[in-house]
């Protein structure tokens, strides 16, 4: 004992399937409790006063299809577990049974692979041994292996925005974030032995879902907008981001119609070229 589990001895699984390209994982829970302070006595104990929830943050390099990208919608709960071992001996796991994606962000610049950051809210228990035997049956086996690795390159990433004249001005980096916060509803138990009451009755997406795109372009003939033009009508644009693997498989696509331009900056220094940075935001309502 007194060994250590190195990064290559750890795996992260979503719904039983391994995820490649994971750079870091941070899973945590915190217990909200309040002190019982009694007049004429003082502190007695602490008592829980909020539902028990946890969080996971996963940083990943996009080298194939991302299983988490499809989890931004309604009622999509998934399980996740990070397993660790040293040598061939499995020494433990840390996972959750019911997680909901609350944000998904991707960023990329010329010369690098896209990096993805995801935040997950966990409702229900969190820790070791959470997944049932059937759910964890395939973990670590060939059947649970991730999809084929096919990293994108600068030539397989396309970003277009006609309003920015992207045919004549070069976009050198972008970031895109999908915020999909969740709202959990808890109810009281129906009996003292009702263990289901510890879990939320339902977990819903809070609409509208907010998508924010940030583009940085090297300026050729691009001209910024006038700030006061907003007062006569918000400037909107169509932003399309497509990321394909080196074999042509689509790894991720973001298409924003009528995205609202909410900030714009111009910068320049003696060692570089003139840059413009634009932030678009788009709201997606619930579809029925």
């Amino acid at each position: 004992m007194k060994n250590a589990s190195l990064s290559y001895e750890q795996n992260f699984f979503v719904n039983g399937t391994g995820l490649s390209g994971v750079q870091s994982i941070n899973g945590s829970y915190g217990i909200n409790e309040q002190p019982i302070n009694i007049i004429g006595h003082g502190y007695v104990n602490n008592i829980i006063n909020q539902p028990l929830e946890g969080e996971f943050t996963i940083q990943r390099t996009l080298i194939n299809e991302d299983a988490l990208l499809n989890m931004t919608g309604d009622n999509i709960a998934f399980s996740g577990v990070v397993t660790y071992k040293h040598g061939a001996v499995s020494t433990g796991s840390f996972g959750f049974h019911s997680g909901y994606l609350t944000s998904y962000s991707m960023s990329c610049e010329v010369g690098n692979l896209p990096s993805v950051s995801t935040n997950i809210s966990v409702y229900g228990d969190l820790g070791p041994g959470i997944l049932s035997a059937s759910e964890s049956l395939g973990l670590g086996t060939a059947a649970a292996a991730d999809k084929t690795i096919e990293p994108p390159n600068a030539g397989t990433i396309t970003i277009s925005c006609d309003e920015l004249q992207t045919s004549t001005n070069r976009i050198v980096s972008f970031s895109h974030e999908v915020n999909c916060p969740r709202q959990a509803v808890y109810a009281l138990p129906v009996s003292a032995s009702d263990t289901k009451a510890k879990l939320p009755v339902q977990v819903d997406s809070v609409y509208p879902i907010e998508e924010t795109t940030n583009l940085t372009l090297e300026i050729d003939d691009y001209q910024t907008k006038n700030l006061y033009d907003y007062l006569t009508g918000v400037f909107t644009g169509k932003v399309d981001i497509d990321i394909n693997g080196n074999n042509g498989t689509n790894l991720a696509s973001f298409h924003l119609d009528d995205a609202r331009l909410i900030s714009e900056s111009f910068s320049s220094d003696v060692n570089g070229v003139a840059l413009a940075n634009l932030t678009f935001i788009n709201y997606t309502n619930r579809t029925r």
Binding site: I39, H41, P189
Partner: protein, 252 residues
Amino acid sequence: MAFLKYEDVLLKVAGESIFAQQASINVSTSLEPVRLIDGSIRRYAASNGARGTLSFSHYLTGSIASFLDVTGVAETSTNGSFGGLTFDNAYLKSMQFQVQPYAPILVESSFDFYGSFSNSISASHDVELAKDKYSHAIKSFVAGTPSNMNHTLSFSYAVNAARTPVYLAGETVPTRVTKEATNIQMTVQGDNIGTNINHGGAEANLRCSIFDINDSTALQNFHCSGRISQQELNVDQQGYLVGQISVIEADQ
């Protein structure tokens, strides 16, 4: 020391230390200025006896004390002390609490009292006051809700007694404080209230059981067997359609 910290402000009622998180006491007089026809103030005349309110919120740590049971107490008064001040002629008037998921349950009790304090403020404490059970919502539940209510978001229980002082001529403290109409009211919030109300009030028999987190035996059960007097639906932006029914029981 100019100010006493809360640890040194003990509340005792009927000889028992109260496991209270908060307490307040106030007394007010009913003074009327006597104005003469020339506009001068002759004096201030008391139009009623001095009357005060003692209120405190406490955790249930076991069965509710008999002197806090509004439906069970008689007309008789009780006494107590608060931060060294002693008082008597206190009459239990109301008790209420609310239960919400994952929240501790604090019971709020209120007494009317008549007369004034004796002694002076002084530090007092009770080292034996610590308890190991506390009312909490994690196991507490209400039974008997309408069958179409699948999930209970919260409920509240309140019992109030009407107290009327009877003064004799020449006395500043009432010789008797009556206990009259005593009503129990429960409200339950949930996902579906259905069509439970009618002009005569549909019958409802609610029972709520209050538990400690770690115990399987209820600290106390409360009942409200009466009529559904109100039902409502509410929704707010980014919220849910929440139904509520109110049940009232005339106990006395």
